[in-house]
Symmetry: C2
Subunit: 114 residues, 2 copies
C-alpha cells in the first residue's frame, strides 16, 4: 500500500468540488451505491447537459469510474483515487446526509434501469 501524498491545495480542490449542492449530493449518493447517469438527471432539477458537466468535473478530479452497459452508464467512486478514503469520512460529518441521500435515491424512479 502506497503512502497517500496530498498537500493542502489538493484537499482544497476536493472541498471545492464538494462545495456545490448538486455535486455533493451526487458524491453522497455514489458513496451509498453505484448510480446511473439517469439517476442524476432524474433527481436534480436541471438539464441533462448540466448534470453531464458536473460529472465531467468529478471525472477530471479522478473521483469516479464508469461502467457502460447497454444504453446506460453506471458511475462509482474511484477506488484508485487518493481521495477515495476521505469521502465517506467527509460525508459522515454532514448532519442528516443519510436522510438526504435516501430521499434522493427514492426519487430516482426509472424502472428500466438500475
Amino acid at each position: 500500500m502506497e503512502k497517500i501524498k496530498m498537500d493542502i491545495g489538493q484537499a482544497a480542490d476536493l472541498f471545492k468540488i464538494m462545495g456545490d449542492r448538486t455535486r455533493l449530493s451526487m458524491i453522497a449518493m455514489m458513496n451509498e451505491r453505484e448510480c446511473c447517469v439517469c439517476d442524476f438527471t432524474d433527481c436534480f432539477q436541471m438539464s441533462q447537459p448540466a448534470v453531464s458537466q458536473h460529472l465531467k468535473k468529478l471525472r477530471t478530479l479522478g473521483l469516479i469510474t464508469e461502467r457502460k452497459e447497454g444504453y446506460w452508464t453506471h458511475l462509482s467512486l474511484n477506488k484508485e483515487s487518493p481521495f477515495y478514503d476521505m469521502i465517506p469520512e467527509l460525508i459522515a460529518v454532514v448532519p442528516d446526509a443519510d436522510a438526504h441521500v435516501a430521499f434522493l435515491i427514492a426519487s430516482c424512479s426509472r424502472e428500466d434501469c438500475c
Copy 2:
C-alpha cells in the same frame, strides 16, 4: 442545547468556503489556536486586502469571531456557529493537515503580536 438544523445546501456552502487553499489553511490554523490577522498576512503570499476579503467570507458565513486588542484583531472559530462542531472533524480528514498547520504557524514571525 438546540438541535442543529442543516440541509445539504448549507453543508455545500461550508465545503465551498473550505474549497480554497488560503481559507482552508486559515480555518485549520484557527482550529489550532486563536490567530491575529497579521498572522495571515505573514503566512500567505498575497496582499493584505486579499487576506481581508477571505476573512470577510468567513465572517459572512458566521464561521469566526473577533477580539480587538490595541492594534490587532484576533480571530477564532465561532463556537455559536452551526458549523463549529464539523470543522475539527473535517480538518482531521485532511492528510498531513497537522504538519501543514505547524509549518504555517511557524512562519508567522511577528514578535510584537500573538
